[in-house]
Amino acid sequence: MSLPARIVTVVVAFLAVVGGAIFVLAHYLLSNPVTVNFTEGHAPGQPVSMTIMTDPVNDVSSHPDWVSYFAKSPQTGQWVHSTIWELPAHTRINVTAYEFDTCDPLRNQFNGEVRGTIGDVMTVSGEAQGVNGPGISVVNSNTTCGVAHTFSAPELGINVPFEGVLYTAKNQCTLGPCAMSFTHVTTTFSFVTPGPGEYRWQCFIPCGLASVDGNGHAMSTIGFMTGYLDVVA
């Protein structure tokens, strides 16, 4: 091989390695789901309405069998596959959560308590079960199909267990984001955002399938069962 050919080969190989490294870095390490913006058009002092859902499946990622959160974009009204939510600081957030997944026991039943919400309660509409009525403060996941997922932000002291859909329920969701026609449970609660900052949140149900004691996969991947609240001034 001639000298110019060898130089070209080395340069091409070098660029391929560097390009591959940059691709891996950008694609796997730096990529994040889009941020769902709940601050745009928000009038100071007014509450923000946030609508989210938890689904047993999703049809918008490379892991369709992973459980996942979705958030409804206030701008488009479309469900967005993201767990990064931008919220205004020091503002009341009224959350409506549609839960389509079946239930599992909590690893620590302590997280069956509603904490950090206004009044330390949530309201369950009971579209699927309706056994507890409004103003629920504790859900026992050990003896009933109590909890499917939680919305928990330990740094903020927030913990909200979402009651699950019975395994025996008919018309369970098989296509995420789930249509409202599928069996689901509606939970509402409110909380007040703190000052500006990024606050992680997660689900405390070990719903990450057969990985790391249930805490792998969706539980450890931003965009599925964990993310952060991007609170801005």
């Binding site: 070990p206 004691d213 805490n215």
Partner: protein
């Protein structure tokens, strides 16, 4: 009349300055000054502070180590500096240096001093590990060194990704907040519900691994009120870096008031908790997942609750 030098014998050394004495005279005041600065000025600020007896003990250990090590370090540095200045090559000096020969006195002194320092530190370290009831470290499920008196029991339950604290002497209540009374011995029973974590209450000088199915006991006695930072110190997954919280050491009266108030306010969730135990095995807790067990239904959890609950899971 002096005898003439034997042919071929090494040249006799000329009587020069006493380098050893010179080095010693440089080293002595420097070492004294360094030790005084370390002990009286730097020492009180060494981590982890003096909020508890175990923290104060660790700070004392660091002071002793620093005071012991500083003279050694200064001796090496001063010798090196002296050698570079005194025995440097002169501009017009092309001769070889004198041959290095053994010096039994220096060698014996070096070995004796090194041995004394190392043996002292070994004995001191062992004593310091035992005397303050384990020095705040996890002693395993059957601790050898215990404090006097009846300690306040605080169970530390780690899971991905938070610590919770259970107080068996207050109805078995569980909280997200570590609250401790000043002046009373505390026994931490540290365990985990999933992977390996590490309970590190920095200002208290307490650090104990949190292993699933293991009760790791550590002791301390808070001696000052204030805020305590608790961190996980074992890489445990995605939110390891966010697995921290803040606790408080308060007066005994304030602690009693907090404990009784919390016991009442947490009563509803306390009823749903498993009975207090030193370790928790979720698939052995009475009532856990009975819904799934009775129905023989599949679910998530990765077999954590036992395959009998999840026959369809791999």
């Amino acid at each position: 009349m002096a005898a003439a030098a034997e042919p071929g014998a090494p040249p006799a050394r000329s009587a020069g300055p006493n380098h050893g004495l010179r080095i010693f005279l440089w080293w002595l005041p420097a070492a004294l000054a360094a030790d005084l600065v370390i002990w009286f000025i730097w020492g009180p600020h060494l981590p982890p502070g003096a909020m508890s007896n175990s923290a104060a003990s660790q700070q004392f250990d660091l002071r002793v180590l620093a005071v012991t090590g500083a003279p050694v370090l200064l001796g090496v540095l001063i010798f090196a500096g002296y050698a570079m200045i005194t025995w440097r090559v002169r501009a017009d000096d092309d001769e070889d240096g004198p041959p290095i020969e053994g010096n039994a006195k220096v060698q014996a002194s070096w070995i004796a001093i090194s041995s004394a320092i190392v043996l002292f530190l070994a004995a001191f370290g062992t004593y310091q590990l035992i005397a303050p009831a384990g020095a705040g470290a996890g002693e395993g499920p059957q601790p050898i060194w215990k404090p006097d008196g009846k300690p306040l029991l605080v169970q530390v339950i780690a899971q991905q990704w938070q610590f919770t604290y259970r107080y068996p002497q207050y109805g078995g209540m569980e909280t997200t907040q570590l609250e401790l009374p000043v002046g009373e011995p505390v026994q931490f029973d540290v365990t985990s519900l999933d992977v390996i974590h590490d309970f590190w209450a920095y200002q208290l000088g307490v650090k104990a691994d949190a292993n699933p199915q293991v009760n790791n006991v550590a002791y301390t006695t808070p001696e000052h009120t204030g805020e305590v930072t608790v961190r996980c110190d074992e890489l445990c997954g995605l939110w390891h870096g966010a697995m921290y919280d803040y606790g408080q050491v308060v007066s005994v009266a304030a602690f009693q008031a907090w404990a009784h108030q919390t016991e009442v306010s947490m009563a509803k969730v306390t009823k749903t908790l498993p009975a207090f135990a030193l370790i928790y095995t979720p698939n052995e807790i009475k009532g856990l997942a009975s819904f799934f067990y009775q129905a023989g239904l599949p679910g998530a959890g990765g077999g954590y609750y036992g395959n009998q609950y999840y026959p369809n899971e791999p």
